[in-house]
Structure formats: C-alpha cells, structure tokens
Homo-oligomer: 430 residues x 2
C-alpha cells in the first residue's frame, strides 16, 4: 500500500541537528534559507527533519534521508563540544573512518590565526572528516564542512551557525550541485517558482470556492491555501519549463487576482503595512492612529516599514476613557451614552485624531480584546474600526473576532489597515 | 554499522504536514507546543519531520516514524480542500479503508450549527476516518482528529490550526498517552523538567562565563544557552528521578539566580511585560509611554498582558517633531538645540508624558531605527530611553544597538521595559 517516493537526483532533504532545535523554542531558520537557495537551481526540498545530538538518532535520520532524496543537506553538530557528533554519525552510516584531513586543518589554523589563536584539542576534532569525503571550506568560522556520496545521494554537511552556513551554501554547495546536475544525463531541472497572494476578509472555504477549477489535472502548477489570523494565503508553485511557466503562471496569477478582487491585498513578500505605506506616499497623505484595543499594534506595524516617518505623524493609545477625552477630545457624554466600545466612540476617536494631528487621515480602533471586559451585550471580540479622511462622512465598521487576546489584537489591526487600504484605493481611482 | 534506535514507548516523533511549512517561511510552532506538553508526562520528542502535501511523501514519513518512535503525533492536512490528504496517507500506511464515522459527523455538525451553518460536501470529507481508528473530538473547529495503532506505535492525527490542536492535545492526546503508559508494565518514565531563565543586558559569552563550573559531568542536568534579540536564555533540563530532581534542580536554579543577579528578568513562560505589569499592580502605579523609534511596540507589548488596562493609561507615538511638542510639550528649542534623538529630548518626553497623563511613571524612547536617518554623529542604532517616576531626577540611558530596523525596535523596547523593571524593583526594596 505504501508508495515510498524513489530517490530523485532533483529532490532534497534537510536535516537540522541539535537538541535545542527540538525543545528550545527556536525554529530551524537554516532550512528555509537552504530551501530558497535550492529552489533557484530547480531542487525541491521534499522533507525536513530535526534530530537531537545523539549519534544513533542522527545516523537513523541520515540513512532514511539517503533513501528518499538525491541531495541531503545536514546542518549543525560540527562544533568542538562533546555533544557535537554529526561527523561520527555520518562516518557510522557510510562505514568510513574519520581521519584528520590536511586541507581541513590548514583552513582551520588559518582562520584561528586571524583571531590570534591556535587550535586547542577540542577544535582539532573539527578537522576530522570521513575517508573519501571532500572538504568544504568554511570562509567565516573554524569548522569546515564536507560532502560524501552514499547510496546515490550526495550528503552535504555544514555548520549550524547561519553566518557560516550561508556563504558555504553559495560558495560550495550550489556549485557542487550544479556540477552534479551537469554530469547527470537528461534534462536539467527547472527552478521552482512560487507566487504568493495575501487575502484578508474571506474565510478559507470562500477563497477555496472562488479558486475552484482554476487548476486542472493538466496544469503543471500546485495551488496552496493557508489560513492564519491575518488572512488566507494563496500560493501557486510550479517547476515546469521556463517558457511554459512564464505564460501559464502569469495567466493563472491574473485569474487569481480577478477572482479574489479587493480581498487580495498583497503579493509575494509584501505586507499590509507596506501596501498601505506605498498608497499613502503615492497620494501624499499622512496618517495618525488612535488605538484602544489594539494598544499600539497598528502604529508598531506601520512603523516597521523603512521610511514610515514620511507619512506616520503620530499615534495615540487611549486605554483609559480619560485618555480618549484628553488626547482626542471624545466627549465624556458620548462615552457615557454609548460606552467606550461603540461605533460612535470609534468615529469620534478617528475624527479627533485627524483634527488634532492635522493629518489627511485618522484611523481608530476600540473593542474588547479579552479575556475580561465583556458585558451581556458586548462580547469579547467585538471591535469597532473608524476612519476619517476629512472628506465625506467618516466610516465605521463593526467586527466580531474569535481567538485569544493576542489574536484579537492582530485581527483588529489587520481589519483597520485593510479599511485604510480600501479607502486609499478608492481615492486613487477618483 | 548503523545503530537505528528501537521503538520506545516513551519516545515520540512529530510530523507536520503542509507544503507551506516547507517553503513558506512559516515555522512549525505546533511541534514546540507538543514537545512541551509531552515532556510534562515524561515523553521525549526525538524526531521532528516536516513534509509537503503529497500523499506518498506523508505515507513514507509516517511509516519511518512508526519504526523509530512509540508515539507519533501528526498535525495538518485535515482541512476540507483537495490538497489535504493526511487521512488518505494514514489509511494507505495502515491498510485501512476510510469510512465516514457517525461520532465525527455529529461533532462537526454541532460545531457548524453553532455558527448557523451545515456541512458542505468538502467538509463532509472531514468526517472520514480509517476503520479501527478512534475519533478525537475537536472542541473548537469542525475537523475531528483520530488515533490509530500501527506496528507498536500510537499514531495521533490532529488539525494543524494551533487553536484547535492545542485543546485537543490537552483533552485527548495527553490522557490517551497516560492511559497507554498505565497499561505498559515496567517503570513509568520521569517527566522531563526544563527550567528557563531569561536575561537581558549581558552578552552570551558573559552569561557563559558567569555559569562556568555550575554543571559537572556528574550532574544529571543539561545546561543550554540561546542568544536572541531580546536577550540570552538559559535552560536547565533533566529527566532524573523525582526526588533527586527536586533537590538538584532547586539548588542549581538558586545558583543561576545568584550568578545572573539583576540581569535575570523572568523565569519559565513569563515575559518582560508580565513582570513589569505585576510590579506595577503590586505597587499600585500607573504608566504612560511616549515612543518615537519604537513606534508603538512598547505599548503593544504592555497591552498584550490580560488586565493591562489596570495600569496602562495611555501612550503617545510621536514620530514627527511637532507631535513631540503637541502631545508631550517638548520645547521646540530643545529639539533644535540637541536634536530629536538626544538624552535631553528623551527626558523631556518622559516627563511631559507623565505630567500630561497624570500617571505615576512616564517612559520614553527616541532613536534611529534605520536604515535611513543616520547622521555623522548619530548612527543607526543610537537610542535613548527616558524614565520619569515623579520622585527624584528623571533617568536617561544611551544604547547603541546593532541589527535591522525590526531588531533595533525590539531591543529598544526591551531596554526601556528593563529600565522600568529595575526602577520598580528599587522602589519595592525601599
């Protein structure tokens, strides 16, 4: 029943070695870098494995990887301490002895000499490499990497420190893989291309329904959907021939844009705050933000963008009712009549902010982020967003979000920035 | 040569399913949560695997996992869309048919009914479960999980959405594993205990030097260090006998505290903003924050803590010079004389904020987050933090941070909150 995928010279697996990666709350960022670099030369990473610093466990993972991938890239476990045992595990799997290699030693000594040091006993271990392996020089640190062939797979072993691993990927690993591909008969693999679309405001099922029938079995493109608190992400991934790809992808991307319409707020690496920032720059508008339930998150996001000082004038975080009155001039009577979490107060906050700051736009949020603060009529997750652009009536919108305090803050900030984005887009069309 | 570890009923593997996790730049945060919950009941996660949405690849990974782990926890690929094929892969590996299960359907219908909906055709697929599997109810979303035994391993399949996976881990997975351990003869494994200490203000090498000699070869405890933009994390991990553990760990923890002194700001899951919040509550003080370079991040962090409205009164994000004058009363002449990024302006911002808000404390930041904005005398990363507590002289501190815009904002917010923490601690001792 089990259809285990065969080794393909064009598919890869990454193995991250390190007990900290299993328990430490640290994510394996190396593997994402490796995946991107390999995609550029048409190599798809199909599996990622994380394993602790036990020789037998590393050996088990490596031997599995060699069965299912043509290229195996291991990071970590090459340091000088006793718990670093990647080289021993590779030697065990491949049945090779570890020998001290002159070229490894020379590179290490040269590196340490730059820092005015000579290798100590622990560091000398780092010059050990399995017999038959090729040493991969480390242009930054003292531990060299190495590469060895095993059962049709090319195993590349690199240090886990990102600043050492990254140049080694570029300078050693990529050229070696390209040379390997040259030697292989048959067509060279095409670079993997991935186009990403970011949406806000539609449930995942609705995005799915809108994209129905877009991809047929014959289309050499994979469609992916991913829901998160800040919206649903849509991806198109392909590895087909370059000429086909350009045509097919641009046609599909156009269809995605048409079907997702104004719910599509960004593409690729772009963020909501960058999109909003570009629109503000383009229209030479400035903004001030008055936040209650989002507590500063909208201002924080807007100011993550380099150059934001050109359009972000100020922000007011008005957690207390008195702050809403002091900083924005929201009438005490309005808060008493409707409550701080109300459409009326959201509007008064946006207008007060815009007028006091003298900016083109005032944007506001007021809501109940929870877990406390709910009343019978106003549940946790009830959020109002207000926008005053100085022309026409101010806009307010009501939302009812689910999730914990942090998620409600995130979704509220996304909703407010999206309201601003749509408002700015309408102004552009005028 | 290869010593493949045998299946242990006490070891686990996590499998995260989703092509997005391979390429999308999104880290697999689920596996860290699962690792922590399993450690509490003595189960060690020894392998983590990430695999894309291909049925054959998922099947391959699952069958490997069942060979090397006693407990396999899969997340993701249970959604309603076509690329969700985890249940098909499990059925293929175990040789079971997929059948629609009444208990799965009832739970799903009940959930959807709460939202005023009925299951559509795609969602009905989510009630499919391999024959012989036990349904694991999903108290939050529509897709149930399930568990099935295969070759001595207990395979648990959960949705990938963290808010659904987490309660299912607590309510279904942990009790099931505990029951399984009860049935197994022999000694129950000891819970893995991990104590974490958070420091700010010391370089990693300095933390390392301070902890030197703390752990000897005979100590059944592992010491870990991990540097990040918000400080260096220290961990003590042990799985020894309960009585030994309590004594050894508490003695070691006390030594860590003594050696790290006031640089230690939190332990365990606690965050800097929670520590500061508790001190404010305890001392019945209120706070207002005036932010320039941090752009709202400090207020955002303070208001991430439930109940923050008891002590956070307001915040002012003063990106423009005019905002500093308008909102905080910083004299135009002061900005002209010393520049907006200066010790003098940081102090005026803190004092102005405190006086205008009428809070116990005013906290401020002004700096150059980059990449633009540097001058010959003021480089990117130059940051001033100010604190006015109404008694005694206001405090200001100068920092020179490295990193990109986002890192400089993070470090600045951490430095400001730490200054506040130390100030509050001094008040407590008086």
């Amino acid at each position: 029943m089990i259809r285990v995928p065969k080794v393909s010279p064009y598919s890869a697996e990454t193995i991250a070695v390190g007990s900290e990666l299993l328990v430490g709350g640290r994510s394996d960022s190396n593997s994402l870098f490796i995946t991107e670099r390999l995609a550029e030369i048409g190599i798809e990473v199909r599996f990622k494995t994380i394993v602790g610093d036990q020789e037998s466990a590393i050996a088990s993972v490596l031997s599995t990887a060699c069965r299912r991938a043509g290229i195996v890239i291991m990071t970590g476990g090459l340091g000088p301490t006793v718990d670093d045992c990647t080289r021993e595990a590779v030697a065990a799997v491949t049945g090779c002895r570890l020998v001290r290699r002159k070229e490894a030693l020379i590179g290490m000594k040269a590196r340490l000499a730059q820092w005015g040091r000579t290798p100590n006993r622990a560091q000398l271990r780092q010059a050990l490499v399995p017999t038959g392996a090729t040493v991969l020089p480390n242009p930054v640190g003292s531990a060299p990497g190495f590469t060895v062939k095993w059962r049709g797979a090319q195993v590349m072993v690199l240090p886990g420190v990102p600043s050492e691993m990254r140049p080694m990927m570029e300078q050693s690993v990529k050229p070696l893989i390209l040379a390997r591909l040259e030697r292989l008969k048959g067509t060279r693999p095409q670079p993997v291309t991935r186009t990403v679309f970011h949406t806000w405001g539609l449930p995942e099922a609705e995005v799915d329904a809108r994209l129905k029938g877009l991809i047929t079995k014959a289309t050499p493109v994979a469609l992916g959907l991913l829901a998160s608190p800040t919206g649903v992400l849509v991806s198109l991934t392909t590895q087909s021939d370059r000429s086909v790809k350009a045509v097919v992808l641009s046609r599909l991307a156009e269809k995605v844009r048409t079907r997702l319409r104004e719910w599509l707020y960004a593409e690729g690496q772009e963020t909501m705050e960058e999109v909003v920032g570009q629109l503000l720059v383009e229209q030479q508008r400035t903004i001030a933000v008055a936040e209650s339930c989002t507590g500063g998150l909208i201002s924080h996001r807007l100011t993550q963008v380099p150059g934001a000082s050109a359009y972000v004038d100020r922000g007011a975080i008005c957690y207390s009712n008195r702050a809403k009155t002091d900083m924005l001039g929201v009438p005490v009577s309005l808060i008493e009549q409707y409550g701080a979490v109300s459409r009326q107060v959201a509007q008064a906050m946006a207008t007060g902010m815009r007028e006091r700051a003298g900016t083109s736009v005032g944007l506001s949020t007021t809501g109940i982020a929870g877990p406390g603060g709910a009343t019978e009529t106003k549940p946790v997750g009830l959020v109002y967003v207000g926008l005053d652009g100085g022309v026409g009536e101010p806009i307010t919108k009501e939302f009812r979000f689910h999730g914990d305090r942090s998620v409600i803050k995130q979704r509220s900030s996304q909703a407010a920035l999206d309201l601003l984005r749509r408002w700015l887009l309408e102004r552009r069309q005028v």
